[in-house]
């Protein structure tokens, strides 16, 4: 069902955890629906300097979170915002159709974390 890449990121997710002093936090999903992701970012020089996540959800949700964190790390905020459900799925070498919503959640959670950072810093 899942690509090797998905299984690798699921079994060995990168950047798991929380950041105590996060500059931005983004949370999406809902345990009732079976998927929930929280992303934490540290920003320096308009770039994502560090990123961590916690995910409750299926293998795809965990792999997506891991992949999004890897893709975002080191990117400018603008480039990080350009990460989409399709680019995540492609980086994971594909996702089953009914799991595409998971990759959407990942990109959304990252965007929310960036927005949270920007909101705090535009004040």
């Amino acid at each position: 069902m899942y690509s090797e890449k998905v299984m690798d990121h699921f079994m060995n997710p990168r950047n798991v955890g929380t950041l105590e002093d996060a500059d931005g936090i983004g949370e999406v999903g809902n345990p009732v629906c079976g998927d929930m992701m929280t992303f934490y970012i540290k920003v320096r020089d308009d770039k994502i300097d560090d990123i961590k996540f916690n995910t409750f959800g299926c293998a795809a949700a965990i792999a997506v979170s891991s992949m999004v964190s890897e893709m975002a790390k080191g990117k400018t905020l603008k480039d990080a915002r350009a990460i989409t459900k399709d680019s995540v799925a492609a980086a994971l070498e594909g996702l089953p159709k009914q799991k595409m919503h998971c990759s959407n959640l990942g990109a959304e959670a990252l965007t929310k974390a960036i927005e949270n950072y920007e909101k705090k810093n535009s004040a």
Partner: protein, 389 residues
């Protein structure tokens, strides 16, 4: 890598003795049982012998058994066959909320297509149907009540004989889906007092593709598969002879070995359950604690999701099942877990182990070693787990 298969409710390998019995019927003894020449009559006799063996296993008479291709077909034949054959009696059907899809959707078919009313009988937190509630719901126009014997997701065994007695008293047909029980516990149609009972091959060590419906003689039944005179006119189509032979042999073996098997799997299951409950915190044992299938252990584990859990166990060589939404094609939580009142976020952490005769104590211990670590790992990722909040 060690392999521990504990998803026997989903599939069970065919027993060696059963396969051996089946083999001659693919090539050498291939005749059509309806043919009037010697090799046809021979096969017809073989089929009737198997019917007798299946009947023996459940305390029925041979003429009360019709072979089907699966448990789902048996359920459809029972529900549709009985409802259609008794159209004049009324247009009301009662099923429990925890029935298998094949019963639920057969009932819904009448609701959507044929102007029937279907009442879904609720269950309590253990998954038990309340006999008094059933008694209140049965009415003049009720044609059929279908309540499963054992539930495949939570293991609960329903008090069928009492439920059936209520229906018998009121002249309402009673069917039970015994797919999860026949082969796992003693099942006797007379004791259960039912009019119809569905079973399937794999839990007995018979192959996929064969099942059976018991129907008490004189029960009116419209065929689901119309055709010729096969199966006393109750099911058309050339008989699946090797499958029938497999089911017969498996029924015979099961009759002899059931007490031993039941004891064996219950011991292992008890060891598994207490081991898991001891080692994992924030976990719920679902279904009835005592009135349940002997080899059935089902849990909901807080803060993690069942599909992820299953796949991590899979990587460790462990095979189990889950009712989580993400693991279902429809992305819906198991209706059974909803029906017994498990909160949705807890139900996501559903995991089910179903044991069979070939499982062993070292296998249980292997799970007791691996499962807690896997749960801990998944919880370490989870935003819902207390240590991460």
């Amino acid at each position: 890598m060690q392999i521990v298969y504990m998803d026997h409710a989903a599939s069970t390998p065919v027993r060696r003795e059963v396969l051996e019995e089946m083999l001659p019927f693919f090539q050498e003894r291939f005749g059509n049982p309806s043919a009037i020449y010697d090799i046809g009559i021979d096969i017809k006799g073989v089929i009737e012998d198997q019917r007798e063996k299946v009947a023996n296993l459940i305390g029925a008479e041979a003429k009360e058994i019709v072979f089907t291709s699966s448990g789902a077909e048996a359920n459809n034949l029972a529900v549709k066959g009985a409802v259609l054959a008794n159209r004049k009696k009324g247009n009301h059907i009662i099923v429990s909320t925890i029935e298998h899809h094949s019963v639920l959707n057969a009932a819904r078919f009448f609701e959507r297509m044929m102007d029937y009313e279907v009442t879904f009988l609720p269950v309590n937190n253990y998954g038990l149907v309340d006999p008094q509630r059933l008694a209140e719901l049965v009415r003049e126009e009720t044609v059929l009540v279908s309540i499963m014997h054992g539930n495949n997701e939570i293991g609960t065994i329903e008090p069928i004989s009492g439920l059936a007695a209520i229906c018998r008293d009121k002249g309402v047909l009673f069917h039970t889906d015994a797919v999860a029980t026949v082969g796992n516990i003693p099942v006797n149609v007379k004791d259960l007092n039912v009019d119809m009972l569905s079973l399937t091959g794999p839990p007995l060590g018979a192959p996929k593709g064969i099942g059976a419906l018991y129907f008490r003689s004189n029960t009116r039944l419209m065929p689901l598969i119309h055709g010729g005179i096969q199966e006393m006119g109750r099911r058309g189509g050339t008989e699946n002879v090797p499958g029938i032979v497999g089911l017969g042999k498996a029924a015979e073996l099961t009759l002899n070995e059931l007490p031993e098997k039941t004891k064996h799997v219950k011991n292992l299951k008890d060891r598994l359950v207490s081991g898991i409950m001891d080692r994992i915190e924030e976990i719920t044992y679902t279904g009835h604690p005592e009135n349940r299938l002997p080899g059935h252990a089902s849990f909901c584990i807080a803060a993690i999701e069942g599909e992820a859990l299953l796949l991590m166990l899979n990587q460790a060589g462990i095979y189990a099942n889950t009712g989580s939404a993400c693991a279902s094609k429809a992305l819906k939580i198991s209706p059974v877990l909803v029906a017994i009142g498990v909160p949705a976020e807890i139900a996501q952490g559903s995991i089910v182990f179903t044991l069979d005769r070939d499982n062993t104590a070292p296998e249980v211990d292997y799970i007791l070693e691996k499962l807690p670590a896997v749960v801990e790992r998944l919880r370490s990722f989870s935003p819902l787990w207390k240590k991460n909040i």
